[in-house]
Amino acid sequence: MSESYVSLQDISKSYGQLVVCRNLSLAAKKGEFLSLLGPSGCGKSTILNIIAGFVRPDQGHVYVGDELMDEIPPSRRNLGMVFQNYALFPHMSVYDNVAFGLRIRKYPEGETKERVTNALQLVRLPGLEARFPGQLSGGQQQRVALARALVIRPKVLLLDEPLSNLDAKLRKEMQNELKLIQKEAGVTTIYVTHDQEEALTLSDRIAVLNPSVGKVDQVGEPEEIYANPSTEFVAGFIGASNFFSGGVKSIDEHEMEVQTDSGLIYVRRRPFKVGDPCLLAIRPESVRVATVKIQGKNVLEGEVVHRAYAGFSLRYEIMLPNNRISANIPITHSVKNLRKGDRVIIQLDPQDFIVMKRSLHTKGS
């Protein structure tokens, strides 16, 4: 219990017919940057609002630092929160915005001034105290919102997709800044986003929220989640994935043979038995594409049905017997000039497959 600083236990919340979460449990460690990742509209914000105290769960408990928060109103939970639209008070100056929390707590003006100045320095916006929010750019407003939340030295910092309103370049810059500021402040942070790349970049750990079950499918470090997704949902959501469903046909010392609708596929041996239904996933960047016959296991023939250019990479959509997969190849690769209708050979390395259990009523059967 003392390992986790923020703890959600068995939280359930529904709005009429819409189930946001069902017996969801989640824990964040002290000082860590935890991302809550999931598709848009899946209730991540609701969960954040439950931690903040704006939404009351139908059941379950919220603990912050071993203290039960259930009956405590948001104004007394001592948390910091940054919203997607920054929510700076437009009728107050930057200084008054940042000082708001301190003034409510009746800090003496001298200490307030010191803390506000430090906070603005932390977010790299010194000297803007007299400006008004309407005079600031999006990135600046964001930082002021961050300073305002941090200046009260909150127990936990809650961020609700704070970078969504920024353009791509600014977003990348702010991601780096945010990470530095968080480390410097040392505050436990829960970050809500639908952008898996952002989550992979920023987080110490990621919790992937699966809306169809209302629970967290997997929690782990970014590399772990990417390399070893534990469910089909996580595999499909983090990085893209190509899926093959089938059943284990035979097992030997190092490999398993899986019978799929597209043919026999060899994968690294996992704890399965012959006859088990399973789901194979392989990343588009692991698909080898060639125009002539190549050596190796899992060589399949297919036809290019789509070509998409993305600057530094190329994505081919290839039709295989009973399946359609994506292949990402770098633009420097020799097979960059295939067109729709071209026949190709693909090779899938057994080491690159992720193998998951499949229940007979998941999609892909």
Binding site: P74, L79, F83, A87, P90, G101, I104, R148, I152
Partner: protein, 265 residues
């Protein structure tokens, strides 16, 4: 615009009992109104009533607007319908209804007397007080809608931000909500003031000539006495004088809205 131009034209003609207006350019109509203490008194009363009505509408209207804002579903719908009532009814009917309420043996006095709150009936008819009460009720809707609109324009995340920073409900209201509704208050006040200063129907029925307001005076001149020149001049005077607080108020309201970045330059 055209009727106003006609008015301006008539206002500088000379009044004649037989011909009504002779195109003999003169400023005597203006002089008559502006320099006569009686008419100055009427003008002053008109503005006083407008000011009192505005303040009363604000004090009574804000809580209603706020309640309307927080309400949901059925409650919200009910409040809205009730608030909008003055708009469904013709002004004549509204004014006449108030007469029924304000008379010595009318509804208000009967109620207060039967509850033993007063012994003698209050004199509400034919007084400024009665006019202010009736005008307030008729104009509340404009104040309420204005304030309600500015309340709705405040993004909910602003309230949440204040709360998460430690502000109580009262503090959130006084430090965040109220300041941000000042443009709405200004707009509503301007509207109510403008309407009341030129309002005719209620003053005509409730105050008649015993607590004369300018619009009634103008009516008398133009319709009863057929003194179009004097009536026209009075109309122009009222318009001009009323424009002063309205223009200043508008400019202030706009600057406030800009300051809060609600309106653009």
């Amino acid at each position: 615009m055209v009727p106003l131009l006609y008015m301006a034209q008539y206002s500088v003609y000379r009044y004649d009992p037989l011909m009504i207006a002779i195109p003999d350019l003169t400023l005597e109509n203006y002089a008559k109104v502006l320099f006569d203490p009686y008419y100055a008194g009427v003008l002053l009363r008109t503005f006083r009533i407008a000011l009192l009505t505005t303040i009363l509408s604000l004090v009574l209207g804000y809580p209603v607007a706020y309640r309307m804002f927080v309400a949901k579903g059925f409650e919200k719908m009910t409040i809205t319908i009730v608030v909008l009532t003055p708009l469904y009814v013709s002004m004549v009917i509204l004014a006449y209804a108030w007469v029924t309420l304000l008379l010595p043996m009318g509804t208000i006095n009967s109620l207060l007397q039967s509850l033993h709150i007063i012994g003698e009936p209050l004199k509400l008819m034919y007084t400024e007080t009665g006019v202010v009460i009736a005008m307030t009720q008729a104009n509340l809707v404009f104040m309420i809608l204005s304030i309600h609109s500015s309340l709705e324009n405040i993004h909910p995340s602003l309230h949440r931000s204040a709360q998460i920073l430690g502000a109580s409900r009262l503090q959130t209201f006084s430090k965040v909500t109220l300041p941000l509704t000042i443009p709405g208050i200004a707009e509503g006040s301007l509207l109510v003031f403008s309407i009341t200063v030129s309002a005719f129907m209620i003053a005509f029925f409730v105050a008649a000539r015993q607590a004369m307001v300018f619009p009634v005076f103008i009516y008398d001149q133009a319709m009863d006495l057929l003194n179009w020149p004097l009536g026209s001049a009075s109309g122009i005077i009222l318009l001009t004088i009323a424009l002063v607080p309205i223009t200043i108020g508008s400019a202030l309201a706009h600057r406030l809205a800009m300051r809060f970045r609600i309106a653009e330059e």
